[in-house]
Subunit: 509 residues, 2 copies
């Protein structure tokens, strides 16, 4: 009851603070409006540098470019290497504020998801950023580069890999800092900056970097700038994130592709076996049927439940926009469902389809699964449940390419390749520093800030937790940014509002 009362009081305070922009915000905004052209030019340059995991040279170049952006802004900068060789370094920066009692560290990541340029729309390319008049789905048309003195429209977008996820985070933080100090203001807290280069790969070396620089990274709070704002367009503060682990599956058939006429009905078809295996993992409502899959889950606290009940429910609108007739989850809302563990098929492949298809029995069939975890789940335990389920379907599970002896012995044979995963984390919603951040963000918006107990997406928050740090996620991207897919984009209005959000947090009260 006490917590509910406190939450109501906080909501009331938040509502009371809806008002005309305060003078600090006005100055930041004026500065940005006067400098859109150079800010955009710099951002476009950042987007041209390839930043996929497979391109370590590109990642290093990205890190150096960001270090340059920081130095240009007078931020004391250094690259923080992992102890493992060849890992893209984190880019670190620091600004001391005389007399400040608190230290905030701003996190974003500069690496992006893998790209398949062939999937991008005509005229678009992952590393040739393109300004567009609006979203592709709304009939967006290409625009020329912004000229000096020209102003942007908030509905314009930039298309390119990481335009949202998460170079937008890097840009919002650094441009927010620039706008704050160049408009004659100063931070209220000590600032640190930490930009990671392996987030999309599951941050396999983040703990090495973080634990190797504990003293340097000491802070009261990490502000994680990643992910989208609420689908309503309202700004959002997120108190936690789901954990994540990927699992690759390869089912094996004959050692060579076979003519489907001469061997069909007789030689086993791995595409069929994979289909039946995947089909057995969920029911028709999308609920996972793997034994114990939903065990371990730690329920939401009353405060978190209450916050969740206040999150706007836009399911019907989003569903309409996304063009499907029935959601999974047997009537539960999107907000409820992202507070549960999930199992998603990221992709399937076996031989060829369409005009490339040949009349063959494929030799293998592959799938990549993505398991999201909530508080209480453990990534290895969750993968083990999947493996046990596969074994119960009669499969021999191996982690290697099967040997000839294994092929001869086991009628059903699957290679399971789990990647390194990590668990979910949640920061308590009543933590004072967290309340201050919510208030700071609220000062930049006339709409109520959405407070989400957990994000559907994942962040390596466990790494920060291990050095005793507290985290809060403050995203900037538009929700329809196509992150992780082709045609990724950022809405300019979101980039500029994100800049204002970051500047406001830097003046935390």
């Amino acid at each position: 009851m006490k917590k509910t009362y406190l939450a109501s009081l906080l909501l009331l305070l938040a509502l009371l603070s809806f008002s005309a922009p305060d003078s600090s915000l006005r100055k930041v905004r004026q500065y940005r409006e006067a400098h859109e052209q150079p800010l955009l030019a710099e951002f476009m340059q950042l987007l041209t540098i390839p930043n996929v995991a497979a391109d370590s040279a590109g990642l290093r170049q990205t890190a150096r470019f960001i270090a340059g952006m920081m130095q240009k802004r007078g931020i004391k900068t250094q690259l923080l290497p992992a102890t493992t060789a060849g890992v893209p370094p984190a880019v670190y920066g620091e600004v001391r504020t005389p007399g400040a009692k608190r230290t905030l560290i701003f996190y974003a990541h500069y690496d992006g998801q893998p790209v398949n340029p062939a999937q991008w729309a005509a005229g678009l390319s992952p590393f040739k950023p393109q300004l567009m008049s609006t979203g592709l789905g709304q009939g967006g048309k290409p625009l020329p580069l912004l000229q000096a003195g020209e102003k942007t429209d908030p509905n314009w977008r930039i298309y390119g890999r990481s335009s949202s996820d998460d170079k937008a985070g890097v840009m919002a933080i650094l441009a927010g800092y620039e706008a704050l100090v160049q408009s004659g203001q100063r931070p209220s807290v000590n600032l640190k900056f930490f930009f990671e280069g392996e987030e999309e790969k599951g941050s396999p070396h983040l703990s090495e970097i973080v634990e190797g620089h504990r003293a340097l990274l000491a802070s009261d709070l990490w502000i994680i700038c990643d992910g989208p704002v609420h689908q309503s367009g309202q700004k959002q503060v997120v108190f936690g994130a789901r954990g994540d682990v990927n699992v690759g599956l390869t089912v094996y058939g004959a050692t060579r592709p076979l003519h489907s006429g001469h061997y069909g009905n007789w030689a086993p078809n791995p595409a069929l076996e994979l289909a039946q295996l995947l089909g057995s993992m969920k029911d028709t409502t999308g609920r996972v049927t793997i034994a114990g899959f939903y065990d371990d889950v730690i329920p939401l606290t009353p405060l978190e439940k209450q916050a969740l009940s206040r999150v706007p429910n836009l399911d019907a609108t989003i569903q309409q926009e996304l063009g499907f007739a029935r959601a999974n989850g047997a009537g539960q809302s999107l907000n409820e469902l992202i507070n549960q563990p999930s199992l998603n098929i990221n992709g399937l492949r076996s031989a060829q389809v369409g005009t490339q298809a040949a009349n063959v029995i494929p030799t293998t069939a592959e799938a990549t699964l993505d398991l999201r975890l909530v508080l209480g789940n453990d990534s290895e335990r969750q993968v083990a449940k999947v493996v046990r389920h596969i074994q119960r379907q009669g499969y021999f599970v191996t982690s290697q390419e099967p040997t000839a002896a294994e092929r001869a012995r086991y009628p059903r044979l699957v290679r399971v390749s789990p990647q390194t995963g990590y668990n979910a984390e949640r920061t308590p919603m009543d933590l004072p520093v967290a309340r201050s951040v919510v208030a700071a963000v609220q000062r930049t918006s006339t709409q109520p800030v959405v407070q989400l107990p957990t994000s559907g997406g994942s962040l390596p928050l466990h790494v920060f937790k291990r050095i005793g740090a507290t985290t809060l996620t403050v995203p900037v991207a538009n929700y329809d940014n196509n992150q992780h897919a082709e045609n990724e984009n950022i809405r300019l209005g979101n980039l500029w509002e994100g800049l204002e959000t970051m500047a406001a947090i830097m003046q935390l009260q």
Copy 2:
């Protein structure tokens, strides 16, 4: 009983004819042995010309090259166009034999299955034919081009698209004719030649060409030179072929790819839906569970059943070689199973897998199915059964890209794209001209010729049937030729034996 008696008598006669090569065969063999280098050089040249359906220029070039091969051998040649424009022409040729009472027409096809060069083994490429010391799986090593006077080893292979399927047919027929007449012999029958360019596409215009040239193509028997000899290496005469029809399936999810964290558990995943749909089509023994799938089948005649019982059963050996532990079919033999209709998944695709995979909910998931038909099945009726099954799983089936209204209305939405298919055909096993062909083939081999009521593979025999023609298939390729897949190859021993088979049939008694 009468038929059984007749068959036994025929078998006895066939067995009696095992003997040292007769003089005709000896002459043909000597000619070939003396001319391996130019024959091989010509064949390699034929294999360099791209012959996939998507490359109509390549197909036309292939047709012209074959016409040249025929003219070089003194065969009166012409290209037979379809009435539809842009269709690769059939290559026709004719040799009149004074006093001959029968006319045989030799069929092969010069087009090949689609290729994906990336799937071919290192050093191999679909249209850069490569001579190898044996099969890849047996440790084959590349060999230089044959020099004049050099002799080949029967275990050598040539790797390249259509090296088996079915430029080997074209080559065996034309080289067989050459060896016959150049060794001072003459055919016993009138000869016609007909080489098709759309077989791998399902022969959509073959009937146009055949029906447009009925008089020209009049014959007592079509000899279809396509497919592999028996897995035992024994020569084979096949009295029929399964019909075939391909069906493309595309299941639809949201209109744009979604972040699997922010939307997982809520937005439907088309890869999962496709998996469940395909999984519902067969049981775990590989038997099709679609209602009525095995109805319509006309049983084998007693003569056919008896022939089938005499076909060597090499299932255990082949299974061991192919490296799988359990065949489909609940214990039935490969020979029994290819006399039943089949449903095969040729390929699957949804988004990306492995290192290319991103954490997304895919927008679509695709599969290509291959349905093989036996006598009694009708291709359209068989596809209709599949469609009804899909509808029973709750799907709205469309033949077009779904409209926004359809997406909004139907929770399960699939596009079904059946291609034009054709039905199975079988020639009666006791037909006199067929018996003569079996005897001719038997004269070239010390092993019993395998007589198969039907082939597992498919041929557009219905087109010939429609002009009243009788067909018999006499294949030449090795069974492990990887036809329809990467690393397609022909064993040279098979090519040379095929040449002898064709020459012997041209001297039909």
